[in-house]
Symmetry: C2
């Protein structure tokens, strides 16, 4: 494979995570090792930056700033909800790449983002523009296929499980059997995050909280729910429930959405957590229910981040550059788990098209028959992903995050006009 000399561009897409910036740090650090990469740019707000030439010069950022990306949540380059759709959009992106001599393109994101990267890659091939495109996996939802797991997932699980363990200390202090505590976590289509809360159980303590986990994978039954809660309250001082926001009923409707309007057309507030609370209050007299809805805080909780996760996100960024320099293109970096007894993470590559069109479901066989707890196979899978604590520097009592100077790269083309 002949050496390809030119500029590199890195972008971020989709919902931020606690570690997507670590992947950018990995790209930048590794790019500096390779003379064939002349400039290293970042595109602002994902594809919007691609269309509008909104690039910044990442090589001019300080070493501290790039290092600080390793513990900074959010997406330092910005992201967007915009999706390239028309052929003109892709043509424009390629024109921008040519104008800036972009020969390496690294894109951190989920399915949609890998699909975008794939299409850009294919168009470049058609047009004979020598371009190496490598995707970097990213999603708290952990639903990308092929890769063993996704950077971002370990940190959100660590935070959620930490929160459950702390809540347990709090609730344990109350001496009465009348508290149902509900924690609503993210996961619109899959229960990976809710399942991760099960790691809060200490080894060989199956009765530890979370006592009940409600997953989108298991159709929800209000009758079984009431029985589940009563069973736990007989045994324990309190019942700690973790529920995924995407809980669905037997007909496949979101339980919160199913309750979204009543017979008079009034909007109901709240999500799956508030819905479970209302079920408790309606069906279990004398039992109090309280809800915590972690919302976006969970994917931003770098202060409780997993070091394994941040390190792997960084590794994935490095691996993307190494693969591209070695001649690979149209692939996404995957995380592979070694076969040994001790967890080891290596990187691999998979065709972008395989990622773009697939979704990794939480395996049904990792859910216990009771439908509300996870078995040892899940624990074996997920436990290594939350190991180690991210070291976040603090100033005046609060975490300090990366600040990028964002020196703009000169625009070389006429402004983009949406058609």
């Amino acid at each position: 494979m002949s050496e390809l000399t030119g500029n590199a561009l890195v972008g971020q897409s989709g919902g931020p995570t606690a570690v997507i910036n670590a992947s950018v740090a990995g790209v930048v650090a590794e790019a500096l090792n390779h003379g064939c990469i002349e400039e290293i740019y970042g595109t602002l707000n994902g594809v919007l930056g691609l269309l509008h030439e909104d690039f910044i010069d990442l090589a001019s950022e300080s070493q501290q700033a790039i290092r600080a990306l390793r513990h900074t949540p959010g997406a330092a380059l910005g992201t967007c909800r915009y999706k390239l759709k028309k052929q003109e959009d892709y043509e424009r992106v390629l024109a921008v790449f040519k104008a800036h001599n972009i020969r390496y393109f690294f894109y951190a994101g989920g399915n949609d983002s890998q699909d975008t990267a794939d299409k850009i890659s294919k168009l470049a091939q058609q047009q004979g523009w020598d371009l190496r495109v490598i995707g970097i996996p990213k999603t708290i939802d952990n639903d990308l296929p092929v890769t063993d797991h996704c950077p971002g997932y370990g940190s959100v699980v660590k935070f959620v499980a930490t929160t459950v363990r702390e809540l347990a200390c709090d609730h344990e202090a109350m001496g009465q059997h009348d508290l149902v505590s509900i924690v609503e976590v993210m996961g619109r289509n899959a229960g990976w995050i809710a399942a991760g809360a099960s790691l809060a159980k200490r080894r060989d303590q199956p009765n530890d909280p979370p006592h009940l986990i409600y997953l989108p994978e298991v159709p929800f039954s209000p009758e079984k729910f009431a029985a589940d809660v009563q069973r736990v309250l007989k045994r324990e001082k309190y019942c700690l429930i973790v529920v995924g926001e995407g809980l669905i009923d037997a007909d496949g409707n979101y339980v919160s959405a199913a309750e979204a309007t009543d017979a008079f057309g009034h909007a109901q507030l709240g999500g799956a957590g508030e819905y479970l609370k209302s079920l408790v209050e309606q069906n279990l007299p004398g039992v109090k229910a309280r809800v915590a809805k972690l919302g976006i805080t969970q994917r931003a909780a770098a202060h409780a981040g997993s070091k394994a996760d941040a390190d792997e996100a960084y590794l994935a960024g490095q691996a993307a550059v190494k693969a591209a320099v070695a001649g690979e293109t149209d692939k996404m970096v995957t995380l592979l788990r070694g076969d040994g007894e001790t967890y080891a993470c290596e990187t691999g590559l998979a065709p972008l098209a395989d990622i773009a069109n697939g979704v990794k479901k939480l395996p049904r066989e990792w859910i216990n028959e009771d439908g509300v707890s996870m078995n040892f196979q899940f624990a074996r899978y997920a436990t290594p992903l939350i190991q180690g604590e991210t070291a976040v520097p603090h100033d005046a009592g609060l975490p300090v995050f990366a600040h990028l100077e964002k020196v703009s790269v000169d625009k070389l083309l006429p402004p983009h006009e949406a058609k």
Copy 2:
């Protein structure tokens, strides 16, 4: 003052905090220094343990367990919602004290708990039972009078401000001016916690989030709210709001409760956060609103705890023992702030009766004229309380908290029967 020899008893009361266990650790550690204290017991579940002789032998706990209390959230001795009311209850408590030769009683809690301690103390005096009673302040609500601040407050503020800073990184990544992010925090009657979120602003960056803080101290106006949000969204990419759960309208009703039933009598779900979300959706077309409700997680978040807070909670426990041994009784330990430029915390004493009957309001003059932000006086007050990070040991990726053996003390009286 003659030396008083006998046993000591420590209890916890009210809602747990991240550091109330640190106060118990301080009591136990200090008690070991004084030969006049023979046994050191803990009462389980506060006053319930007092009535039922549910005592444990704290001296038999391991050094590690007592040390681990310094970073363990919840209330390791248990707490309860029960309140002593009848004279018979107090008589029973005193009988129990006499049976176990309790001469020192330390009680960590809020107003109600200090009131209970005061009444026990007064009854002992009436009956000529030489008893030294010292209260230890505790409440995330920070509303105890006399004391400069309350152990528990600094940690919850540190966690909330950390969360706001992390959310800011996440939201900053989105390039559109259409997101309202609402964080609901605790504080039924006072805005101390919501106000604390203002510490997330970096120095000299008044436009940093939180952009708007809605406090129970400032009657809520939906019209002003809509104008506030629009003003922020013009200037910023997103609008981050922190709201105290106890927000009230101009008539003094909780805004969430005011909306609790609609014209058809349907219960509405959610609290102040969901209420603000509904206002955004009704009044600002095209703007998305998202809610995070931290719930009880915030008062249990030891993993993001303030070292200053935990140290002061421990100090308060030690000070309680020192004061009692020195002959003080019927007092609560207070935290005092030195006059110097550098923050220094010392302890003082105040009559229990002064604590029991007062509430410390968030000073109106610390709230800016806009009603939605805090001024430098608040920052100067609260910043020292969140300094330093609690070191929580982790095992297998998750925090490890204290486990007490809870060796029971033999009961010496006939069982208590509620009359």
